[in-house]
Symmetry: C2
Subunit: 404 residues, 2 copies
């Protein structure tokens, strides 16, 4: 897999040859930026292509680092990666702050997951049982104990799980810090739109970079797709190469806690209300993020009356006192959902093309290990052990194993 | 009362003398602008003082012209003014469009006021009875008849009143058109903050204009306070001169009806839900305005989580299909509420000082007759017959009649 030489542009008729890099990262969200930063740190000439780097789903996300509270049946493999990345966060945040001069709002505040009615409590009990089977043991609290920790909780809270290891970071500050770290590490930015991948078919089939909207080509030895929920035109590519990622829309609110109400909440509070997840993430700067809807609507980032209504209704049920707080922002983003809810990290069937996408609900959490894994892959051609279960080839294999 | 000569600036020690006008209007909202426009049309040199003319509550208001549906017990006198202004609207809109080159979104769509539960129906029946006693007779409709008119209404709607004469205008376009009409009529704008009224006490006590924040004075023969819910420093003024107006906060949402959903609603739809008023005002350009909370919070224009939640909850109960509509804006404004909910139009106890404020929920509706009344007053010294019940002196008299 290793490709350290610049790819040839043979067969790229009509394309104006642009700059050549060792590594070309398509997509300047937090996953693309951490990949580019790590590549540049290892001495590779690196370019990020994105019309607006630092954007993407991180502008919307709440930034929960919820390895334990986001555990679902059948995702035990993902749990180990999530836990590894959660453990990496303190040193990652410190290294990034050192490299960029920017704090990313990492806050070791823990999480309280609560139940409002009997159904919720049954749901939370099941999660607790699953967590224990996975070797975790968050503490079960009565409703009264929950309110002692967080006095703003509704009297109707019937119990909860205290998860002291699920912390938070501020995704907007994370994106900004990664941008600065990339710039300082020498990463170049091409603020352009990508039309398609550039493919050389002379000898063996190989991706040689990208073709921009204006027809110019950027070539690279290795190309990383970090396009999140956004796809690329697959024209000319074999089936199964582009990531099987779908957009899962999330609407998010931002409130402000005036000093008179502070701290309001002292940790992340979350619940399942009538089947929907709602969470409240309090930052030290007074921002309170409420998320998130989960909607399969295609590439739609409209803030809707219904989305905002459901979030406010559920949050109000959980923490009635928030009615007095200023509502400062509503926004919507797209989670890159993969078929098994786990990321796609590593090489594809096409030489020269890697993926770093499909992080679904865990993009902020998985930023440190994604950077580690992609840096290692780009420099050595091998994924580190912990990332290997997440190779995109797991879907290609399934595709090939299916009867015709 | 008539004062056509420029006031002296005697006694204004330390103030730099600024420009002198026949008429100085303090406040450049729709009421101040229509007053200035009418004064300028009658040949008086006119200045509007406002740091941001065209702003104020009209930037927030939905623009219902709800003479009949907003009828309340004890407000029969106000009803006649409201009906007179509603009747003036078509010619007013046409004249303003001619003068400014701008349409104001006047739409003769009518209103449907509906009831959701038994309490609401009783409330609406009482309103209907009151309307009939006042010589109005809107048609009572069954729930089915309501849904035939507006198919998006909830199945739970139990009945309603069809009020074909309560139309709408777009307050933002109204403010813009009035600004242009003022400019074209030669009104001058002083984009400054007013510190206080300028008072000459040499011979008789008389208002001679205003002192700006920076100490400069703008003098005028007649000064009109059209400051809406915003007060002035009353230092040096006798008691009972400044308007007894309080701010009543209203939070409002703006949604967008995509073409695929149009027309969605074909007229204004309103209801009382759990004691709170909610209304949906559909514009021809696809904007759907949902209002409004009514909060006595002082000079606070914060959009709160609770305000937005209640509006969405109530609107959703009335028209469930709006969940899919984009939510494009949330904002809050201040209605100028007077003790009897009616405007204060005309001279005060102080020579040279008039009021045009206290329009509460009816500012957009009352814009035409307010312009007529203030123009007449400024030019002739006399209020027209229909405006006389609304002189500010009605409160001064009460003040003087109270036992000490």
């Amino acid at each position: 897999m290793r490709t350290t030489t610049a790819a040839s542009t043979d067969g790229m008729e009509g394309a104006t040859s642009g700059a050549t890099s060792d590594v070309l990262v398509v997509g300047g969200g937090i996953i693309g930026l951490v990949t580019a930063w790590r590549a540049a740190q290892r001495g590779m000439s690196t370019t990020v292509v994105d019309p607006a780097p630092g954007g993407g789903a991180a502008r919307v996300a709440a930034g929960m680092l919820a390895a334990v509270t986001e555990l679902h049946y059948g995702e035990e493999t993902l749990l180990s990666l999530n836990l590894a990345s959660a453990a990496r966060y303190p040193s990652f945040a410190a290294e990034l702050a050192e490299a960029s001069g920017q704090e990313i709002g990492y806050r070791a505040c823990g999480t309280l997951a609560v139940a409002l009615d009997a159904d919720d409590r049954a749901h939370l009990r099941e999660l607790h049982a699953l967590q224990r089977r996975c070797g975790l043991d968050p503490e079960w609290l009565t409703g009264r104990e929950c309110r002692r920790l967080e006095p703003m909780l509704a009297p109707s809270v019937r119990g909860g799980l205290r998860v002291d290891g699920d912390h938070q970071a501020d995704p907007r500050r994370l994106a900004t810090a990664l941008l600065v770290a990339c710039e300082r590490a020498g990463v170049r930015f091409a603020r352009e739109r990508v039309a398609r991948l550039a493919l050389a078919t002379a000898a063996d089939e190989r991706v040689t970079g990208v073709v921009l909207d204006d027809g110019r080509e950027l070539s690279a030895g290795q190309t990383v797709l970090a396009t999140g929920a956004h796809g690329l035109d697959g024209a000319g590519l074999p089936p199964g190469v582009l990531p099987p990622v779908r957009p899962v829309k999330g609407q998010v609110l931002r409130l402000r806690v005036p000093p008179a109400y502070a701290p309001f909440l002292s940790r992340t509070v979350r619940a399942v209300v009538r089947g929907g997840h709602v969470y409240l993430v309090p930052r030290t700067n007074g921002e309170l993020v409420i998320g998130a809807t989960s909607e399969e609507m295609g590439w739609d980032t409209t803030v809707t009356a219904g989305g905002v209504y459901e979030l406010l209704r559920d949050a109000h049920e959980l923490v009635p006192g928030l009615t007095e707080l200023p509502l400062t922002e509503t926004c919507a983003g797209l989670r890159p959902g993969s078929p098994d809810n786990a990321p796609l990290l590593g090489p594809t069937r096409l030489a020269g093309l890697h993926l770093a996408t499909g992080h679904y609900r865990n993009g902020v959490l998985l930023t440190p290990v994604t950077g580690d894994a992609m840096g290692e892959l780009l420099a050595t051609g091998e994924l580190p052990e912990q990332a290997r279960p997440f190779t995109p080839r797991r879907f290609t294999r399934r595709l090939q194993e299916q009867p015709a």
